[in-house]
Amino acid sequence: MPRVRALWDAVRRKPGLTTTAGALVVLVGGWLVGLPMLLSFLGAFALVVVGASVVNGRYVRRRLFILVPTIVLVTAFTFYLENSRGDTRDLAFQILGPGGTEEGVDQIVQEFHLDEPMHTRYLLWLSDAVRGDLGRSAIQGQPVSEVIANAAPVSLQLMIYAQVLALAVAVPMGVYAAYKANRRGDRIASTFALAALSIPNFVLAVVLILFFALGGIRTGDTSIGSTWLPAARYVPFGQDPVEHFRHMALPAIALALGQAAGYMRILRSDMIGTLQENFITTAKAKGVSDRRILWAHALRPSSFTLLTVFGVNTATLVGGALIIETLFTLPGLGTQLGTAIFQKDFLVVQGIVLVIAVGFVLVNFLVDLLYAVLDPRVRHVRA
């Protein structure tokens, strides 16, 4: 009894921390035990929401309230735009090709309700989606949920590797640059960052492929470059971890470089501000080492903007990085979405957009919560 009482006190005192920990337990435990992913996901999410609402209930409830309308509006908007182009029978022509019979075309038009008014079609889709039925790809015949289930891990992995890489590079550099603010170290670092930020990532990808997979530029007998890393394709982690990372190396770098530059600049900028605060001066006066000041005292309060931007980027990357995936032939959500848009495979588009919207909104929501939990003062001011 006293243990339970102690536990309950701990929960009450630090609700954010305990519920987050609980959420992680549910996620990992659920995966180990073999719960359907959706269930453990929902459980973890519920816990986090509960924890956050204890900290700041009204805020949480407001944000939660607009979650659903956001998702509905995003999908409705996409549906309308995607399906009002061209001829209503275009999808049928796609599937059957020019040789299709008129009856065949009519059959497909009926099957996909192509001749019904837009709002009817959207509501039909919505009512199915709510029940978990996202339909089948008109072109591939596969259930949309399967398409997504196969493509999502690829995009998520790319996102995670790129973001981790970006942070791993950006944080030390940002701290260093702030430390050496406006002196040579900073100027060099900042110039690099600005340059890296200015390279479009598809140009970077082309250059990376050229120099690391194709053997570079050859002039006469000499060539600068190597063929060490593969230029395309995807190998699942479960199949061969080493190959998996070799194949993901170039795509992750291409994506991460620009992001790292952006993060570094943001962190540097915030940190310079923080380093001029009184409590830093006090710590310095007390004799705390520079390194400890930077990492243990200054870093945390300087990371809010970084967290915001990081969150938004992560949320966007949930939908896959379309250009990178295409250039490297990675079968992720971005490729699937792009292909489906161009082929007017509207059920796949809707399914993926739904997942993207949900992912985006959720990640943003979580970042908001994290924000509020990390520093109650800035709860109301997040832009």
């Binding site: 956001t70 995003v74 600005l194 390279i199 479009p200 952006g262 980027n313 848009i341």
Partner: protein
């Protein structure tokens, strides 16, 4: 940043910075050195590059350039030469002339989109940040929705919806592509404007105005707006840079008018030959890089110039 793959880097300007050397002794002295070091050589170099680009794009017709749409026999894929300073592309176009003319489309689309985004986003952000409460909640919700739609889906759908191929001229396709880009730009600019407005609208001098009974509109226009402009201008420059890249990325996917000249189209066409004839990608990419770099740099400097650290006042 491609802009289609990742969100625009939004610098929320609650945390502002001053590039002052922290070891300067007196604030006034620091101010002076600060002012003197303000707009250094590189700033003016960047401005110079941008000016050169804009002027040559605007007056391209007057310059002795070859016709960018003319294909010359027998020079396809040749490198730089006396006749073709930047070489020729896949079908014999003059790369130099196309690079300069291509600036037109890239700059025009991105600039118009940024201006529109700046205006619309600015107004929305101002209103939202000033009036707060439910209006703010509603506007933020709408902005979030706009951000949640994947960039390519939005751009493609908008262009294809308003300017379907076969029924719309290439010009109108470019116009609608611009429109799509400005829609992409609005949420970010609005959020920055909103954040800035919220910070400034809480200030004492605004409170003072209110007490005096000044109408809200007047307060917004005369007190708040001038103060948020610097941050917004800075964001606008950076946003411009991002939109140039997004426009190129759209060309990559054949969205909008693919038959004209723009840097994105040039890069996409030259991509397959990058190991054999790198000049086709190199020059437009270089121009793009320098332009983006200049814009980023100018945007940075503008912000540093105007932003003042909170506790210094």
């Amino acid at each position: 940043m491609s802009g289609l793959d990742t969100a625009v880097v939004s610098t929320s300007s609650e945390h502002v910075t001053l590039g002052v050397d922290a070891e300067a002794a007196i604030l006034a002295e620091a101010d002076e050195t600060y002012q003197a070091r303000k707009l250094g050589f590189w700033f003016w170099a960047s401005v110079g590059w941008l000016a050169f680009l804009v002027l040559s794009a605007v007056f391209a017709d007057l310059l002795p350039l070859k016709d960018p749409m003319a294909t010359f026999r027998g020079v396809a894929r040749d490198g730089p030469s006396a006749a073709h300073w930047f070489g020729a592309d896949n079908i014999g176009h003059d790369v130099f002339s196309r690079t300069l003319y291509g600036a037109r489309r890239s700059l025009a689309v991105a600039t118009v989109a940024t201006l529109v985004g700046f205006t619309v986003g600015g107004v929305i952000g101002l209103v939202s940040g000033f009036y707060r409460r439910t209006l703010d909640d509603a506007i933020v919700a709408v902005l979030d929705i706009m951000l949640a739609i994947p960039g390519l889906v939005l751009a493609l759908a908008l262009v294809a919806f308003f300017a379907p191929p076969g029924r719309a001229s290439p010009t109108s396709q470019t116009v609608w592509a611009t429109f799509a880009l400005s829609i992409l730009a609005v949420p970010t600019i609005a959020r920055v404007a909103r954040a800035q407005t919220m910070v400034w609208a809480d200030r004492d001098f605004v409170l003072a105005s209110r007490t005096l009974g000044t109408r809200n509109l007047r307060i917004i226009v005369r007190e708040v707006l001038p103060n948020i402009l610097p941050a917004m201008v800075s964001i606008a420059f950076i946003g411009l840079a991002v939109l140039i890249v997004v426009e190129a990325a759209l060309a990559f996917f054949g969205v909008g008018d693919v038959s004209g000249v723009s840097w994105g189209i040039m890069i996409q066409n030259g991509r397959s030959q990058v190991d054999r004839a790198p000049h086709m990608v190199l020059f437009p990419a270089l121009f793009m890089f320098m332009t983006i770099l200049s814009l980023n740099f100018v945007g940075d400097q503008v912000r540093t110039f105007f932003d003042v650290r909170e506790s210094g006042i």
